[in-house]
Assembly symmetry: C2
Homo-oligomer: 823 residues x 2
């Protein structure tokens, strides 16, 4: 790192707001937190250094990250001062979450840690237990993990601290979310764009995020980019992101304390001024000319590993990347290191901080805010405490009338949009809809009857549904949408992410991290459950024929299934009413990740409201009206997904018309997890029930929305697995028509008929002729498409006619669209 400069133009350092005793108190807290952090990284015993350190006092494996820790401690100590002096309601997010020792140390100093974990008591024994448990088998993780009171952000994977912070601030008008951004994390893509989240905050109803960019200069083995560009360039960048930049810089704690106190005062003054102006009746709502606030942020420049060993074995450590993890690595075996460790810890003067009994001395203890104002005890950082059930009406209020299966056509997501509108109305401060510029494209536009999209930038007369305040959050960053939603859920609210199916892979890794968070917190009784993270994946693989190959990927489900069964759910509602029923269920559920895949294009209605409710409750079931098996089928045809269901039912009708003696059972799967063994997933069907449905020995032709092996993976232990034949997406795609897409992947009705004929023995010559007809039909459909650029009328005009005599004539329910329908 460039050697710290003492003063910069935007620094507040000329002010010295701290009295001598305030300064002493802050520094005591800072030292205590540093001491506890070092103790956690190193010590098994001798927590108060009552004797010289010996080898057995030291952990055999030294794990943890010192480098970022003192910076986090500094920020925490000063936020506490602000909280106490101004009664601020604040939470703390550590972007460099690997600095876990800091978060644990401060929660312990505040007393919260011992309240949550009584074993870690506020005495010498508790201190020793605190040290020992850190990054120790059976103990706690080295990061700011779910186990850490006050944490909603682990920071194990970098990049999401600002989006989490902004999600937490939404609809919490009194909350200040302090978010430390590491200068390594600063280089990640998701973090880089999440600075722009400040254009989606409404100071009248939202709280404030206070970003604190901590420039300690180094990553694991490299300097950081923002530390090695001219400071003026960095300031331009941060101002370009829309912030007022307040700089704190130095390596002398006393000086930095004064600067930091002044910086936080100034930042909080700015926040208050922005909010007061916005809330003072001078409504900015709809005012296109109102100035967007320039929210304050702090640029904090201190050395990496500050106050730690300056050099080790003759090499500089403090202020370099070498301070990233454990500065003294051989403390157990190398006596010089051990002596240096002891001197380092003694430099914090523990005797002045902790009494003989190991208790924090009273005047330092008094610096902690009271009760829930402690950031480690703030209920906003334990959202399950605050969460209220989502208010949601019976989905039947929005259900469409279905007189006969396949007798009408609807756009499922468009109908669902009305339900979202009412959810918005009924939960005006605790539900938001997130998506990357796709709400309208995904046909959820009815939500705009109830609310608007939030935007704090300039609004022009040409804009539609764009306002300072609203419930719809759209930014062309799946990362930011996901981070917002996670932050919103983690602080006890509800939400929905609607996204193109292919591009949800952009947040695979964020999903992984959130699922791990949910998995861990399931075991923590003091963290009540959160609302589920709900995905509505529409514009899915089978209707990305117009956007082509790059937009076709149904593999997010595969990622989801890798996580613990207790956490993940996947649904494939085949029509409008089943989508409504499924979403109503998911939105009210707790502590899951629900993935719902449903198309936005016009499609047949199969089930009325009651049938949909019943079918979704069961998750999988025989559709009797489509079956003619009388309890003893020759073949089972199953499907999961709206397009696979269309093709499967069309295949059923072809077979019933042309091979009327063939006994077909049609099974629809809404809840994919029903396929799994009951021992493997809580939703799994019992083996006997599965066998009753899918038979023990009859061929099963399964038309699946995604990659076909998912179905094998879920069912490989089932009795009849050897007879299961799955059709799905096999990476065949281009820009073409909807039916050509399914044909390219052999998921089309004609091929499904061929699959049945090939797998049911001795169907005779009529079947052989039908097989030939199907091959001809495929060829004709392909030729039509190549000639006319749209699906053949016998495909797009097909209807299920109830008497199951197969191919209807082209009807008014054609699903062909003009381009205006495509997103």
């Amino acid at each position: 790192m460039t050697p710290p400069r003492k003063r910069t133009s935007s620094s507040t350092s000329s002010k010295k707001p701290l009295s001598r005793s305030e300064l002493a108190g802050l520094d005591a807290w800072f030292r205590a937190a540093n001491y506890l952090a070092v103790g956690q990284i190193y010590l098994l015993d001798n927590p108060l250094l009552k004797r010289d350190l010996v080898a057995d006092d030291i952990k055999p494996r030294l794990l943890g990250h010192w480098g970022t820790t003192p910076g986090l401690n500094l920020v925490y100590a000063h936020l506490n001062r602000l909280i106490r002096q101004r009664d601020v309601n604040a939470i703390f997010l550590a972007g460099p979450g690997h600095g876990g020792p800091a978060a644990v140390a401060n929660a312990y100093l505040e007393g919260t840690y011992s309240e949550v974990y009584p074993r870690i008591s506020e005495d010498a024994e508790g201190l020793q237990a605190l040290f020992r448990q850190f990054s120790f088998p059976g103990g706690i993780p080295s990061h700011v993990a779910p186990e850490t009171p006050g944490s909603i952000h682990e920071g194990g994977e970098l990049g999401y601290v600002l989006s989490h912070a902004y999600g937490a601030a939404m609809d919490n008008p009194d909350l200040v979310v302090a978010a430390v951004v590491g200068d390594g994390e600063f280089e990640t893509g998701p973090l880089a764009t999440s600075w722009h989240a400040n254009k989606f905050i409404d100071p009248t109803v939202d709280g404030a995020v206070l970003p604190i960019l901590h420039l300690n200069g180094y990553k694991i083995a490299n300097p950081t980019v923002p530390a090695r560009i001219p400071r003026e360039e960095l300031t331009k960048l941060l101002e370009g992101y829309g912030h007022e930049v307040i700089t704190v810089e130095g390596d002398d704690p006393a000086d930095v304390h004064q600067q930091m106190a002044a910086a936080l005062d100034r930042a909080h003054d700015s926040i208050t001024a922005i909010q007061d102006a916005a809330r003072s009746g001078k409504k900015r709502r709809g005012s296109a000319d109102a100035d967007r606030p320039r929210w304050p942020m702090i640029l904090l420049v201190t050395p990496k590993g500050w106050t730690g060993p300056k050099t080790v074995d003759g090499v500089q450590v403090e202020g370099t990347w070498r301070a990233h993890q454990v500065p003294l690595a051989e403390t157990r075996t190398n006596e010089d290191h051990r002596v240096q460790l002891q001197r380092w810890m003694e430099s914090y003067d523990p005797a002045a901080l902790f009494g003989e009994d190991g208790r924090l001395v009273a005047d330092v203890k008094a610096l902690a805010p009271a009760g829930d104002r402690r950031m480690s005890a703030n209920p906003h950082a334990n959202g399950g405490l605050l969460r209220k059930p989502l208010r949601i009406r019976d989905f039947r209020e929005y259900a469409i009338e279905v007189k006969t299966p396949g007798g009408s056509v609807n756009e499922a997501t468009r109908v669902f949009g009305s339900m979202v509108a009412d959810i918005v109305r009924d939960n005006p401060t605790s539900f938001r809809l997130f998506g990357p510029d796709e709400t309208e494209s995904n046909r959820l536009g009815a939500v705009y009857e109830a609310t608007d999209k939030v935007f704090a930038g300039k609004i022009l007369p040409v804009d539609e549904h764009l306002e300072r305040h609203g419930r719809v959050m759209e930014m062309l960053s799946e990362h930011t949408c996901q981070g917002w939603l996670e932050g919103y859920l983690l602080t006890g609210r509800h939400g929905l992410f609607s996204c193109y199916e292919a591009f949800i892979h952009i947040v695979d890794s964020m999903f992984n991290q959130h699922a791990k968070w949910l998995n861990t917190t399931r075991e923590l009784e003091w963290r009540p459950p959160l609302a589920s993270l709900n995905y509505l994946l529409t514009s899915h693989v089978w209707r990305q024929d117009h956007n082509g190959f790059t937009h076709q990927d149904p593999g997010f489900i595969d990622i989801v299934l890798n996580k613990k069964p207790e956490i993940v759910r996947a649904y494939f509602p085949p029509d409008t009413n089943t989508l409504l029923s499924t979403m109503a269920h998911c939105l009210q559920s707790e502590h899951y990740v629900n993935v719902v895949v449903a198309g936005k294009q016009p499609q047949f209605d199969w089930l009325d409201a009651d049938q949909a409710a019943d079918h979704c409750a069961r998750g999988v079931g025989i559709w009797e009206w489509a079956s003619n098996d009388d309890g003893d089928p020759d073949v089972v045809i199953a499907s999961a997904g709206d397009i696979p269901t269309l093709e499967a039912l069309a295949a059923v009708s072809l077979l019933r018309k042309h091979l009327p003696d063939l006994k077909i059972r049609y099974i629809n799967v809404v809840d994919l997890m029903r396929l799994q063994d009951e021992k493997e997933h809580p939703h799994g069907l019992a083996g006997r029930d599965f066998d009753t449905l899918f038979t023990r020995d009859k061929p099963i032709i399964f038309a699946y929305h995604g990659y076909p092996w998912v179905i094998h993976r879920l069912t490989y232990r089932r009795t009849n697995h050897d007879n299961l034949h799955v059709r799905g997406y096999k990476e065949e795609g281009t820009t073409t028509t909807p039916f050509d897409m399914v044909m390219m992947n052999d998921l089309d009705r004609y091929h499904l008929v061929i699959d049945v004929i090939d797998r049911v023995p001795s169907l005779g010559s009529r079947a052989a002729q039908l097989r030939q007809d199907m091959m001809d039909a495929r060829r004709r459909a392909k030729e039509w498409t190549r000639t006319y650029g749209e699906d053949a009328p016998e495909v797009s005009g097909w209807t299920w006619d109830g008497s199951a005599d197969g191919e209807g004539s082209p009807s008014a329910t054609s699903t062909s669209e003009t381009s205006a329908d495509f997103g």
Copy 2:
């Protein structure tokens, strides 16, 4: 969008570099490209508008994106002027790649399109075919797809244009990579941080990237963020990213042409000046004080859908989001729309652009650069043409001596580092190593004996291996690393991405897109193969015990397996020599994505160089020295992955010691694809061969590195699948010790022994006792770990002793480490 301002301070608009005829020529090209774009979106017939448009002239499905297209055409036309006037070697990357009509139109105007696709000839018939094929079944995609000559960037998924561009520019000192950034794409995370890629370019050996931020103001249904912040704020942001900003703004083509010509002249002057200064002998190499260049960029502000319909049905379209796709959506059925389309196309004056025969008129045609200087024909945009084989020495030069299996210990990646160093030496301008700050952590540090890390920011004396020039690219952005590597490969070079296993999920979606590119280009004969995209995933799930749960995810393989078998390969070398052999193979391979998973921690050597070469060539094989089955096993124990192999062999030795009559076959799998059926993957073993190895009826206990169902997915059609029992990662993890990690997931040696006992019938009382002993051993190991914080000596000290009598005594080959070994 804010109404365009005619002048800004940074505008070059006071200069009018174009003569009247130059201006006329540029505008003619611009109009011709626009005309061809509109024709592609709309027309089936009547390409020259020789009669009034009728319904049948119009495509039944109107697909494509008009909004961004005129901006791309403007940039392309002007780049051509620059290329001709200054003989610039340039390629063109369209971030808004959905503007495919523009790229196709310009390639057609340049003649390249007809050269590559003779059917699309330069006459009326060819014009009609050009129009018809666009976004038409059997035709071409609507994006700037692999099918488009001159493209290395599809832009179907947004965010990667700058990282691709910088990758293309590396080691191409004469190349100018013009990269249009859409203002929607601007909001994505990967794009937001990729601006910082300008700090990793060395003007002495690299070419230049010219970013052109195209502010047309709107996304699908929203304004863009950069268009709705004050222009001064945006300029600060771009200058904060380190650029000199040249603004071009307007909606009058004649004016914009003058501005754009001046802007490109100025930008190219700046690029030349930077490069000349750097290359003029005044070496900046190692000079910490040298100023980092401020590379130029262009901010281009023109209306969305510029020159298209201003209003449609009384609603504004040009300059709004409504111009995003097809401005006149009902052209086939609505005569008003059709008339408006005709007027729109006629506004480009096609009769002045194309002759009676449909050929481009000579003086417009003359504006195209010659031969390979045409951006659509530039070989850099068809990297397979330029690619030379990687120079790589026999891996045996780096192989370690292995006298007896398990008799020595090495860190596989550390040894591989020496091989990378020589690859760097032998391919000084065509190989780079990419990674997010992890090269040292992943123990590839030997590469620094041959080269350095590239950094153009400030370099301080404390920095190590950091230089202006080098072969190692480190930025804490997996997105940028991946994008760089893709750009580097797509332009004909070689590379390797080394990454923590868990966080490679960050680029799942980028992998998907690259795999789709490789898949499509396999079918395009005019695009010769590229070098494979190679991942070395180390710091893997089983050795992230110290970093904990968030760092444990082996699911990237699952994502990879979803892509076409012709494209993807996955390898799990179990020791040092097999890693060397595998990497040598992968680095020389063509047109695959190779995923290699290998640990960086000390681990036993099993195979000497010749054995490794043989084993890797076969991909899967029996290790005779570990087996005692004499061709007729009672049980098969198999493994894939270094830690699973360690545990599997430890289990084998326990079984052989305690149940010496049990006949065990041990199989090691390096090439995961060998498990798949030969009909499903080119590497797949024939059924008979698989049965010979794995038997048709004996229990198989398979210890696998990742999620266990991957093995089931690959083998579910194998004869003996019902007897296959897989152990792998099941999302059980925390911060603990290495052996506790494998125990948590039941992958440990003791549990594998239990698995064997439970599955081999009638082993008798001795087995029952052994089973109990194994349960006791697990309990003891757990207790030891919880007590001492490290693995028990009987675990960490275990060695394979050759006579297979099981548990050796603790030896000097302990794999316990101090924290300095962890990354």
